[in-house]
Assembly symmetry: C2
Homo-oligomer: 213 residues x 2
């Protein structure tokens, strides 16, 4: 069943999860798709369609039970289990990731950082040790690692990703600005900051065009 | 015209730009949509459709002139002009952004960082000065600022974004994990790292399901 769900739907699910979490914090117990639609600024029919991909969750005339829906979407997103992450590259970006406490709240635990810079050896970020790259084989052999985040320069990323895959890593969170070519059973999620900046720039330029009309 | 182009198409344009840049580096002068399709792993018809949104650029029997297409897509993405960026929040993430030299190659110049932490006052990152938040009004009044990048905690982001908009900022690159509610003429591009991690986690979990079948 999962295969048929488009990545566009999947992209929207974390946002539902975030809004439902806020509703719980506000003490809201149930919500109609219309109310959720107003808060999230998407149409009620999109909400219904998106959630119907996973079986619905709503009851006619009642709406959605907020806690139940939050918990079900959490399970769909795999947040009901722990994911251990290692971060390759302990520069500013790698250290920024290690400093995000919110990841842990959702079950994403950064367990180690790796770098090639010897001045970082043994340094800790929020209690997470920076190790040297030559320890990585041993580390992966002796620890459960679910995700590797790549924050090193583009020129090293492909080689590093291949090495990680050879060591058994099946999921890559890629911040390097290239598309990795990896076996089909390896899941890759890209965060291309330059692409994001170019989209912003497109929207700036096209807004200016519109204003001149 | 720009208004009719979907954000899905816009999301793909930076990737075309990146691949065309690599082709130029490799000395490739022209390319058919089929060849480009094989490299980029999208269908040739999607490439033709995407580019037709902007007028086409290809010639029957010749394909695309790589340099010309690169330059035209650059213009579409607003890369033919300079965009000045200020970064609010000079923690690891803000400093990571300041350290990206690749942004500058595309015309995105980070001109200042701002923070509230007095120990950062006067510190420079790659020659870019960290200023205190109480200087921001003066700074924006006296300097051209096109984009503000928000890297501060979620709890401060809404207030900060409103203040920036009051000061005339029209484009926000938002790394804080919330959806900003801002006037319609303000362009916002979100980088929600937690959402990205949840998408990765979904794909890990759904792959495991498939393997068990």
């Amino acid at each position: 069943m999962e295969k048929q769900i488009s990545q566009a739907v999947i992209r929207r699910m974390p946002r539902y999860y975030r809004y439902l979490g806020e509703l719980i914090d506000q003490g809201v117990e149930r919500i109609s798709s219309n109310e959720l639609s107003q808060r999230m600024k998407v149409t009620a029919s999109q909400i219904r369609q998106d959630l119907n991909n996973f079986g619905g969750f709503g009851q006619q005339g009642y709406g959605y039970n907020v806690k139940y829906l939050y918990s079900e979407i959490g399970k769909i997103l795999g947040l009901d289990r722990q994911h251990n992450i290692i971060v390759i590259g302990a520069g500013n970006l790698g250290q920024a990731l290690a400093n995000y406490v919110n990841f842990e709240k959702r079950g994403f635990m950064i367990t180690a950082l790796f770098d090639v810079n010897p001045t970082l050896a043994g340094v800790s970020v929020r209690g997470i040790e920076i190790r040297m790259m030559d320890e990585i084989e041993d580390y992966i052999r002796n620890n459960k690692v679910d995700i590797a985040a790549l924050t090193m320069p583009k020129t090293k990323a492909e080689e590093c990703a291949n090495r990680l895959v050879d060591l058994g890593i099946k999921a890559i969170w890629n911040f390097a600005h290239l598309d990795l070519e990896l076996p089909d059973d390896v899941v890759v999620e890209n965060v291309h900051l330059s692409d994001s900046l170019m989209q912003l720039s497109y929207n700036i330029v096209s807004r200016n065009h519109d204003e001149k009309k």
